[in-house]
Symmetry: C2
Subunit: 766 residues, 2 copies
C-alpha cells in the first residue's frame, strides 16, 4: 500500500485556490433568466389574494410563478413527508416562505416585478414555542402539530430506576442553528424537449432527481441533475431544497432560470432542529449506569423535511456510547412557525450528546468519581451490543478516550510548564486549575458514537483508457470534504495504477452511476467499496486478455503499476486494450455495486462513527468569555485513506461544533428571524480557533470500507459542546445546561452560582 | 419488433426547432476569453519576423500565441501525418493559415490586438497546380510534394487490355469543394488544474482527446472533450481541427478561450480533395469488362490531414461495383499551396465514381448497349469478391439498380402523361426525349459501392434506473444525422422497454465510453451493436435477480415491456432493482464492447454501403442551365431502424452531391481563395431541389448492425454527378468530364459538340 494512507494533494486544490473552480452560481446558460422570490413577511398568515398579472406585464419578465400556476404537477415536496409547498398555497407558515417567484431578463427587472405582485394576507396567531406546540389551544399548523414521534426502549426502565442508588434528572436545551455554508443555495433549471435538466448545489443529486421526476411525472432517465463544486453543505443541501421551485419557474418562463439565494434567504431554507430534553439517569454509587429515560422535543419548523429521520436518530443517540441495561427514549418533532429544520452534520447527534455527556459529568461530580473513570467504567467495548438488535460496536472508544485524555493533559501540562505557573501540578486526573485571580482554566471531555445512517446503495464505474490511465465515475458530491482525493487513492490502489493516471468524476446523474446521497459519513465507505468492486471487474477483464497474450493461466499473472506481469515479462494495461480493439482505440469498463447484499452491509448501522473531544478552556469570570486553549479530537477511523483530509474533516466538525457551543443561535422574535447574516449570526472566526488543535486518528483497519476505512467527519461535532461545558464546570464549578455558551450566559451563570445551589439537585418530574 | 423500423420523432427535434438546442458557440464559461486568428495573406511565404509584444500590452488582451510560445508541447498535429503546425512556424503554406492568435476580453479587443502584431513575410513562389506538384522544378512545400501514393492492383492488366475488343480512355476532373456545414468550427478550451477540458464542434471527440493528450503530454484521463450538438459535419469536423490551437491559446491566456471561426475562416480549415483522373477501360464488344487502369492525382493542399486515408479509399473505389478480372490503380495525393483537404462524406468516393460511372455510359453509348443493361451485365452479385481479399459484396446492387430504373421511368412516364406530351413513348429503355425546341430531357443512372472504413472500436454503457427507465451512453456525435433516434430505438427494442423511457446521451469523453469516431457510416452499426451488447448484460443481471425473486430457472423467464415474466406473474425491472438495493435506490449497468473480435467484424470492410442514383434532367440548350426534375436514390440499407431518418440521410447525401454536380467549386486565383462565402460559393437552395425526390430503401435485414442494419448516408453522394452527366448526355448527346456542370460549362460543351467529335475517342497516354 503506497497510495492509500498518504496525504496526497487534493485534485481540486489548484482550481479552488486559483478561483477557477466552477460552482453552480458561475454557470451561465444561453437564454437564461434570473429568478427572485417574494417572501411572506408574516410567520403565519392566510394568503387571501395573490395576483401576478401586473408583474407579468413588466417588460423583461418571462414568468411569474404564483400558486395557481402549479398545475399538472404535485406542488408539494419533502424528504420524509411531502408537506412543503413549492410556493405557499393557502397560507404561509414561516416568515420568509416563498409566496411567488419571478423569472426575468436580469435581477433588477425581477426585483421590480416582485413589487408589482399583489398579495393580501390575513395574519394568523403564530406558534413560536415548540414546548407549546402540543398544547390543547396551540395554533394548528397542519392537521396536527406533532410531525413525528420516535420512541426507543429496551429493558425495564422502572426497575432500573427502582434499583438505583442515585437518580439524576436534568433539563437541557439546544438552539436553532444554521449551517452557514459559504455558498448559499443556487439552482439552474431548464426544461429540455421532454425532459428536465437541473444544475444545483445539492448534496443528494439522485434524490433530487427522484423528487423532480415525481413532481413533474417524468421517467428518471429524463431528469438530469448536475452538481458542480459545492461550497459547503453540512446537510443544508440535502434532499431537494430550491430545485422544485426553480424547475417550476423554468417551466413557467419557458427558458432556463437561475435562482441564487442570498444568505438571508438561504437561512430561511433550512436549519438544525432546536431541542429541549429532560434526561433522567439511574446509577449505582460506584458509577454503574443502570437506566436512562429521556423526553425530547425537537422543533422542526413549518414543514417536515426529514424530521422523522432526525427525530429517530436523535432518539437513537441519547444512549451515547454506553451499555444501558434499561433505556426509554421518547422524542417528538413538532411543527412551529419557523424555518423548516432538516439534516445538519451528525443529524440529531449534538442535541443528544449535549444532554447525555453533560449529565455524565454531573453524575461524576455528584459521585466524586473522575469523569474519565466514570466513562471508562460504562463505555461500550468493541463488540458490545450498544443498541439492542443492531450491529455490535465496532469502534475503540476506550482507546480513543485514553489517548484524548493523555493528549489534553500533556498539552495542559506543557502549557503550565511553559507559563511557569506557580500552582502545584495536580496529577493525572482532570481537575480545575486556576491561572489567575479572575481567569480560570479547566479541562473537560465528552465522547459519542453515531450509528452511521449510511444506506448501502452506491455504484461506481471505472473506465480504463487505452493509454492505461483511468477515470472513476461516482456520484459523490465534492463539497469540500476531499472525497475525490480519497476515491482516487482507492482507485489507484485497487487498479495497481499510479495516482496521477486517475481522474475521479462525480455528480451528473445522467453520466455518472447511482449513489444514494452524500452525507451520513457514507461516501468513503460505500462509494469506496463500489470503486473497489469496479476495479475488480476491470482486473478480471485484464486477466482474461493477458492469459491470451501470455498463453498463461491466471494464477501465474500479477499486477504491477499499470502492467500485467508473467514471470520476467510484462505488458501494460494500455497495450492489452489496444490489442483487444485491434488499433489505438477502446477502453475497458468495470462496474461496482454496493447493496445490502454486499458482504456484511446488511446489518445496521454499517459502522459506528466515534468521537472523543477534550477541551482545555479558559473562562474570564469578569466577562463570562470562554476561550478554548486546546482541543483534542480522537476518532476511530479504521484507516485514513488520506490522513490530512481525514484530519481536516475531523477538525472541521469540531470547529463547527464550537460555533453552536459558543455563539451560534438563530434568534426569533414573534416569529421573525432577526439575525440571518454574518454580522448578527456569529460563526467561529480564526480568532476563536483554539491555539492548539490536535486530531488523533485511531487506525485498526477494521472498518467496513475500503482498506478498513470507516466514515468520519460528523461525530466530532457532537462532543464539543459537552466537552467545553464540562471544562467550564471544572474551571468554575458552574454547570450550564443551555447552549450557546455566550459570555452573557456564562456570566449570568457565574453570578447565579454565587447565590444558588447545585442545579443537579433540581428534579422536575418527567 | 415494434420500435425498430418505426419513424419515431427525433428526441432532438423540439429543442432544435425551438432554438433551445445548445451548440458549442452557445456556451459561455466563467472568465472566458474570446479568440481571433491572424492569417497569412500569402499562399506561400517565409515568416521572417513576428512580434506579439505590442499586442500583449493592449489592455484586455490575455494572451497572444506566436510561434515561439509553442514550447513544452508538440506544435505539429494531423490525422495521418503530423505536419500541420498549430500556428505557422517558419513559413505559411496557404493563404489564410493562422500565424498568430489572440485571446482577449472581447472580440473587438482581440481584433484590435491582431492589428498590433508585427509580421514580416518573404513571399515564396506558390504551387497552385496539383498536376505540376511532382515536376522537377516545382516549389517544394515539404521534403517532397508527394504526400502519399496509393496503388491497388490485381490480375494482369496488360493482358486484359491485350484481349480487349475496345479500350476507352477518358480524363476527368473533380473540383475542390467545401463542406459548408451551417455551423463553422467552434471550440472552447480550458486548462483545469492539471488537465484540459475542451468543448468543440468535433465529430471525433476521442481522436481529439488522443491528439490533445499527445500534444500536451497528458494522460487520456485528464483530457475531457465535450461535444454539444453539432451543426453539420460532413467530415469537416473530423479528427482535430482548431482544438490544438485553442488549447494552446488557453494555456497562453491562463483562462478558458472560445474561438468561433467565421465562414471565411472555416472554409480555410479543410475542404474536399480535388482530383484529376485518367481512366482506361478494356471491354469486349458484348460489354464484358476486362480490365481497368487508372491514374489519379488528388490535391491535398498545404498539409496532409488524412490524405493517405482519402487517397487509399479513392483508389479503392475506382473499381466501382463491378467485378474486374484485372485492375491497376495508382493515386497520388500531392501538396499544393491551398487549404488542406481532408475527410468529406464518402471520402474519395465522388471523385472515383464521377470518372468510373461517367465512363460506363461512354462505353455503353459506344457499344450501342443500354447503360442499364451494361451495368447489369457487369455488376457484382451478392457474395462476389468485389475487391480481392476483402469481404464479399453484401449488398443487392442489381436489385437496387432495377428498382431505381423502374422508379425513374415511372416518374418520367408519369410526367410525360401528365404533360400530355405529344411525343411517342419510348419504352422501358433510358433514352433521351425532347420536350421542346430548346429544352431537352434525359435520364441517367449511376451506381456505386463504398467499403465502409468503419473501425470495429465502439463501446456503450446502458444504465437501467430504479423506475425501469434507461439511459444509453454512447459517444456518437449528433450532428444532424439522427443517431440518437436510432440508438434509442435499438436500446428500447433490445431492453424490451418503451421508447419513451429511454434517453440517449453522447459525446463527453469523460463521462461516456469510447467510440472511435462519428463518420464512415459506422455509428448505427458499431454503436448500435455496442448498445445491444450492453442491453444483453443488463438483461442477464435482471434474469439473475428474477430467478431469485420467482425461484424459477432462467429458461422459464421472459421479458415484456419493462417486466420479467414468469408464467402468469411478472415483476417490473424497477422493482427488481429496488429489491436488490433494499430501498428506492440503485441501478444496473450494462457494458457493450465492439471490437474486431466481435462476431464477423474482423474482416474489412465491415459492410458495403451501396447507392444507385437515377436522375431525370432538363437542359436548357440556350443557357446551359440544368434542372433535375426527378431524382431517385436507391440504397441497400439492410434494415432501416428509423426509415424517415434513413431517408433523410440518403436524400441529404444526394442533395449535397447535387452541389458539387451543379455549382460548387472553391475558386483560387494565384493561391488566393476567392469565394469563401455563401454569396459566391453556391450550395443547393430549395429552388434547386428536384421537384420529385424518391428514396428506395432495400431491406433484407442482412447487415452486420443491429437488427440487420447497415451504414447509410454517404454512398448516395457519389452517384449524383455521373447520373446527372449521363442524363445530360442522354438529353443532348454532350459528354462533360469536368465538374461542376455549371450553365457556362454545359453551354460551352453544347457549342463545342456542334463542331467537335466524341470525346471518347481522345486517347491521351497514361
Amino acid at each position: 500500500m503506497n497510495v492509500v494512507g498518504a496525504s496526497v494533494r487534493r485534485p481540486d486544490a489548484l482550481e479552488k485556490v486559483s478561483g477557477r473552480a466552477v460552482y453552480t452560481g458561475d454557470i451561465e446558460l444561453p437564454g437564461m433568466a434570473h429568478g427572485k422570490l417574494l417572501a411572506s413577511p408574516y410567520p403565519h398568515a392566510l394568503i387571501t389574494h395573490i395576483d401576478g398579472s401586473n408583474a407579468r406585464r413588466l417588460p423583461g419578465v418571462f414568468g411569474v410563478l404564483t400558486r395557481e400556476r402549479l398545475t399538472g404537477m404535485d406542488p408539494y415536496y419533502g424528504a420524509d413527508i411531502k408537506d412543503r409547498p413549492i410556493i405557499a398555497m393557502e397560507r404561509a407558515r414561516f416568515q420568509g416562505e416563498p409566496v411567488a417567484a419571478v423569472a426575468a431578463v436580469d435581477l433588477e427587472t425581477a426585483e421590480a416585478a416582485l413589487d408589482l405582485i399583489e398579495v393580501e394576507y390575513e395574519e394568523l396567531p403564530p406558534l413560536t414555542d415548540s414546548l407549546k406546540a402540543l398544547e390543547f389551544d396551540a395554533p394548528l399548523l397542519h392537521l396536527s402539530n406533532l410531525c413525528h414521534e420516535a420512541s426507543y426502549a429496551w429493558g425495564d426502565v422502572e426497575r432500573g430506576f427502582a434499583e438505583a442508588d442515585r437518580v439524576f434528572e436534568d433539563t437541557f436545551s439546544f438552539p436553532m442553528v444554521y449551517h452557514y455554508a459559504l455558498e448559499p443555495h443556487v439552482c439552474i433549471a431548464k426544461f429540455n424537449g421532454d425532459g428536465l435538466a437541473v444544475w444545483s448545489s445539492a448534496q443528494h443529486p439522485f434524490l433530487v432527481r427522484a423528487e423532480l421526476a415525481r413532481i413533474f411525472d417524468l421517467p428518471l432517465s429524463k431528469v438530469e441533475v448536475t452538481v458542480p463544486y459545492v461550497g459547503g453543505g453540512f446537510g443544508s443541501k440535502s434532499y431537494s431544497k430550491i430545485e422544485p421551485l426553480v424547475a417550476a419557474l423554468s417551466r413557467e418562463a419557458g427558458r432556463p432560470v437561475k435562482l441564487a439565494l442570498t444568505v438571508d434567504e438561504a437561512a430561511r431554507m433550512v436549519r438544525r432542529h432546536s431541542a429541549h430534553c429532560i434526561l433522567r439517569t439511574a446509577v449505582r454509587n460506584d458509577g454503574t449506569f443502570l437506566a436512562r429515560e429521556c423526553r425530547m422535543v425537537l422543533d422542526t419548523g413549518a414543514y417536515a423535511d426529514n424530521a422523522s429521520t432526525v427525530n429517530d436518530r436523535c432518539a437513537h443517540q441519547v444512549a451515547g456510547p454506553y451499555v444501558w441495561p434499561n433505556l426509554k427514549v421518547t422524542s417528538s418533532a413538532v411543527y412551529t412557525n419557523s424555518v423548516p429544520a432538516g439534516s445538519f452534520r451528525a443529524v440529531g447527534g449534538p442535541q443528544a450528546a449535549w444532554a447525555s455527556e453533560s449529565q455524565v459529568d454531573i453524575i461524576a461530580d455528584a459521585l466524586g468519581i473522575d469523569p474519565v473513570e466514570l466513562r471508562m467504567k460504562n463505555l461500550a467495548r468493541y463488540g458490545d451490543e450498544v443498541r439492542k438488535g443492531e450491529r455490535p460496536l465496532n469502534a475503540d472508544m476506550t482507546g480513543a478516550l485514553q489517548q484524548a485524555v493523555e493528549a489534553i493533559q500533556a498539552g495542559a501540562e506543557g502549557r503550565q510548564t511553559k507559563e511557569e505557573d506557580a500552582l502545584d501540578r495536580q496529577g493525572p486526573s482532570l481537575r480545575s486549575r486556576t491561572t489567575g485571580a479572575w481567569v480560570k482554566r479547566g479541562v473537560g471531555v465528552a465522547c459519542s458514537i453515531l450509528g452511521a445512517g449510511a444506506a448501502a446503495a452506491s455504484t461506481a464505474l471505472v473506465r480504463l483508457h487505452m493509454d492505461g490511465s483511468a477515470t472513476a465515475l461516482v456520484s459523490s458530491v465534492e463539497m469540500g470534504q476531499g472525497s475525490r482525493s480519497a476515491f482516487g487513492q482507492v482507485a489507484a490502489q485497487s487498479l495497481s495504477l499510479p495516482l496521477d493516471q486517475i481522474v475521479v468524476i462525480a455528480s451528473d446523474t445522467v453520466a455518472v452511476p447511482y449513489d444514494r446521497s452524500t452525507g451520513a459519513s457514507r461516501s468513503t465507505t460505500m462509494v469506496g467499496l463500489a470503486i473497489q468492486d469496479a476495479a475488480r471487474e476491470i482486473k478480471a477483464q485484464l486477466l482474461g486478455l493477458a492469459t491470451t497474450h501470455f498463453e498463461a493461466p491466471e494464477e501465474a499473472l500479477s499486477f504491477d503499476n499499470g502492467n500485467v506481469v508473467f514471470g520476467g515479462e510484462s505488458i501494460s494495461y494500455g497495450a492489452l486494450i489496444r490489442q483487444m480493439f485491434g488499433s489505438a482505440a477502446g477502453e475497458l469498463m468495470g462496474r461496482g455495486y454496493v447493496t445490502p447484499g454486499t458482504g456484511g452491509l446488511g446489518q445496521t448501522p454499517i459502522l459506528w462513527e466515534s468521537a472523543v473531544g477534550a477541551a482545555e478552556v479558559e473562562v474570564d469570570t469578569r466577562t463570562g468569555a470562554v476561550r478554548i486553549l486546546r482541543y483534542v479530537s480522537a476518532s476511530d477511523v479504521g484507516k485514513a485513506i488520506n490522513p490530512k483530509s481525514v484530519e481536516g474533516q475531523d477538525e472541521g466538525a469540531a470547529m463547527q461544533g464550537m460555533g453552536h457551543t459558543l455563539f451560534e443561535e438563530l434568534v426569533y422574535e414573534d416569529g421573525q428571524l432577526l439575525n440571518s447574516n454574518l454580522v448578527d449570526y456569529r460563526v467561529p472566526s480564526f480568532d476563536e480557533v483554539p491555539e492548539e488543535f490536535e486530531t488523533i486518528l485511531i487506525e485498526n483497519e477494521d472498518g467496513p470500507g475500503p482498506f478498513g476505512a470507516k466514515g468520519v467527519g460528523e461525530c466530532a461535532i457532537t462532543v464539543v459542546a459537552p466537552a467545553v461545558a464540562n471544562a467550564i464546570f471544572q474551571a468554575t464549578g458552574v454547570r450550564i445546561r443551555e447552549l450557546p455558551l455566550t459570555p452573557e450566559r456564562v456570566w449570568r451563570a457565574l453570578r447565579q452560582e454565587e447565590t444558588a445551589s447545585d442545579g443537579a439537585d433540581v428534579s422536575p418530574s418527567l
